[in-house]
Symmetry: C2
Subunit: 151 residues, 2 copies
DNA sequence: ATAATTGCAAAGTCTTTGCAGTTTG
DNA sequence: CAAACTGCAAAGACTTTGCAATTAT
């Protein structure tokens, strides 16, 4: 299976943005690169700011937020809330979900396929189309369950 | 677990708290009542503040937050984040989940049973115990799906 | 009595916004 | 060049915290 290199994917995305009329700036290039490099891992806006700063320290937090919003509107990026306020961002084509441990904060990633049956049942029974890309379920991870057997 | 008949739910909960060593105050009584009255509906901290104020206007927001924290520690209350920051609170024995429409904000409630199979699969396959009580899935509700067929 | 609880005000976190200057296409 | 984008600073939503006064047990 062929896996596109980070640079390739970045330019594909930038290309797509440009064709939408959005302008490509150094900040945006850096942010998209940061998202591509994150590659399926959950990153907060803060993480992204930090990463972007490694190449362009001048980029302001607000620019990151605004660009994320633009990317989201363009359908390139999505975000979920992993409890307690802060959101995590990811490219739209990373199809997996999050199990967030309420005790230690660990994040377990689960492929889409596992969730597909529930998705179908909700669609049929409730007319509700679960976000195809990404969501988070709270719970207790294996390690914590082992440490604290009963609640 | 025993379900109260003649005795109202509020006093049962307050009783339980008192036996935990927590002190019962007017503010706490009002808050528990507000939670009981919400009865399975999603309420934000703000909703609760407002409700509590209807009987005791003097109760401060911070008291509500602190009491909610205490109630959560006592296992009486839990909260979930329905996207974008604000959390919703509910009594721990209300077993249902939320489907939150990303377009109109509607919240569809789904009984635990629907989710049970996924829960089991995640437990077996990932050692992850999904929160037994409450979580939220983002998506698009029936009405919005009808309005905006394709994305 | 005495430790828990409260109100208040202030701070903290995460995110958004108005504006004037800069850059892209 | 015009429209889009940016940094900055300030505000906004939601929640937490330090403290002295109050209150339940």
């Amino acid at each position: 299976m062929w896996k596109p290199r980070g640079v390739d994917r970045t330019s594909v995305i930038l290309q797509q943005l440009r064709s939408d009329g959005t302008r490509i700036t150094a900040a945006r290039r850096a942010l998209v690169t940061a998202l591509v490099d994150a590659d399926g891992h959950h990153v907060t806006a803060d993480d992204l700011v930090e990463t972007v700063h490694r190449s362009i320290p001048a980029v302001h937090r607000s620019t990151v937020y605004r660009t994320l919003e633009a990317l989201e509107q363009a359908g390139v990026v999505e975000h979920v809330h992993l409890g307690h306020g802060r959101a995590v961002y990811h490219l739209s084509d990373d199809r997996h979900h999050h199990l967030v441990c309420e005790r230690c904060g660990a994040v377990v990633e689960v492929p889409e396929a596992v969730v597909a049956p529930l998705r179908e049942q909700l669609a049929v029974g409730y007319g509700f189309v679960v976000n195809g890309r990404h969501f988070a379920l709270p719970g207790v991870c294996r390690a914590c369950a082992a440490l604290i057997p009963a609640d």
